[in-house]
Amino acid sequence: MAELHLPSTLAPLFVGLPRRLEVDAATVAEALDRLEERWPGFRDRLCEPGPVLRRHIHVYVDRQRAGLDTTLDGRSRVDVIAAISGG
């Protein structure tokens, strides 16, 4: 099970969505699919049609910048970062 860490801005949008959870998935895209199944609308908040990751959403797998097709294994740590902010 990959360990997924989500930004604080996501949890208030979906009832019961935690900041950290474990997901059984072979790629980042599959991990998002699993969350979409449990929390409909989840993918829209991270991806544009394509799907492609939204411009300011950055994903890291084991501290390396990753994309939707990046592979995961049972020990992967996935960090989803809301990458910019301002005043």
């Binding site: 609308g41 049609p49 910019i84």
Partner: protein, 358 residues
């Protein structure tokens, strides 16, 4: 006793203010929508729900909804896309609720509808094929902020008839629920070269009199205009105003000849002239204008008001409201004769709407 509810869309979420029929004391709640930038928040009289069009830099565009005057909120963008990676939806802005339907205008230009109270959306039209449409999705032709459909004006008696503004292009009317469109810009003025006289106009705000559906008003980049034939032709009524430029406007609920605007300096400033805040009113359909400023700051008030930043309620003596892009909210309970600042430190205000709720 009726409640008066103001919905205020800001750079940092939606705020609600409540009062009674007297509209003297206001209670403020918020921010809602998790602090997302809210471009337009409305009340749907049919369902009683509040809807807020928002766009997060991180999480994209979505429409928030509250069925209980702000107690609980949900958001959805299901179907709120062009299904095509070439056409990006960057923002939803102008919301309209009519006959159980919701309309949302979008950037890039498109009109979306929801028939299930904002849970799901579908694309009604991109106005493809209209004059001007060949270039309005070309990023090289777009000003900062892109072009979009910032507002949709429904016809109260005909659900298949409505008007859409395309920024920098003009007004288009459909009478067959978005299947076909006709430019409605005859009589408008442009201070720039125009190739096709049917389009190329910068319409900021479009309104219909609630008591005469032939009577439309618009605040344009260059002038105030009136139509007496549902937008088929336009007549300029700028004479008597301090500037021809502005964004926000409001119509009187019971008098088709009374109309409010907030003239701004054109150019980069886009603030009220001379640092003196004022709303201007005509009571003769634009033949003459009067300056309304009792209670508004009259020195060093360098404030602006955006397209959706003004609202008029439906009481016999209507209340008029406006919010500034620097976060001050002003209210008048006597049709604009006198004003009170009812919130002073909100985030930048993009929209103000009002509802009278029983």
């Amino acid at each position: 006793m009726s409640k008066t509810v103001l919905m205020v869309g800001t750079r940092k979420g939606c705020f609600l203010l409540e009062s009674d029929e007297a509209r003297r004391d206001w209670e403020l709640r918020g921010p809602f929508c998790e602090g997302w930038p809210v471009y337009h928040a409305i009340h749907d009289a049919v369902s009683g729900s509040i809807y807020a069009a928002a766009a997060s830099e991180w999480h994209g565009a979505s429409v928030w909804r509250s069925p209980d005057l702000g107690e609980t909120w949900q958001q959805s963008s299901e179907g709120l896309n062009y299904g095509d990676a070439e056409l990006k939806l960057s923002k939803v802005s102008g919301l309209t609720a009519v006959d159980g339907r919701l309309f949302a205008g979008a950037e890039m230009p498109g009109v979306f509808e929801s028939r299930d109270g904002g849970e799901t959306w579908s694309l009604l039209s991109t106005l493809a094929g209209q004059p001007g449409s060949e270039s309005w999705n070309d990023p090289a032709n777009q000003p900062p902020g892109h072009l979009g459909v910032p507002a949709i004006l429904p016809h109260p008696d005909d659900a298949s008839r409505y008007w859409a503004i395309v920024q920098g292009v003009g007004i288009f009317e459909t009478t067959d629920d978005g299947v076909s469109w006709t430019p409605r810009n005859r009589g408008l003025r442009a201070d720039w070269p125009i190739e096709n006289p049917e389009v190329g106009y910068c319409v900021h705000k479009l309104l219909m009199s609630p008591v005469d559906h032939e009577r439309l008003y618009q605040q344009n980049h260059v002038g105030m205009h009136r139509s007496d034939d549902s937008g088929q032709t336009w007549t300029e009524i700028t004479n008597g105003l301090p500037t021809e430029f502005g964004f926000a406007a409001g119509v009187h609920p019971h008098d088709r000849d009374t109309f409010y605007v907030i003239p701004l300096d054109p150019g980069h400033g886009r603030c009220m002239p001379e640092g003196r805040a004022a709303v201007w009113r005509t009571r003769d359909a634009g033949s003459s204008w009067e300056r309304l400023a009792d209670g508004l700051p009259q020195s060093n008030a360098h404030v602006g008001v955006l397209r959706e930043g003004m609202a008029v309620d439906s009481y016999d003596e209507p209340g008029v409201y406006f919010g500034t892009s620097t976060g001050q909210l002003f209210a008048s309970a006597d049709a604009g004769e006198s004003w009170t600042e009812i919130a002073s430190y909100l985030p930048a205000i993009a929209s103000v709407e009002v509802a009278v709720v029983d």
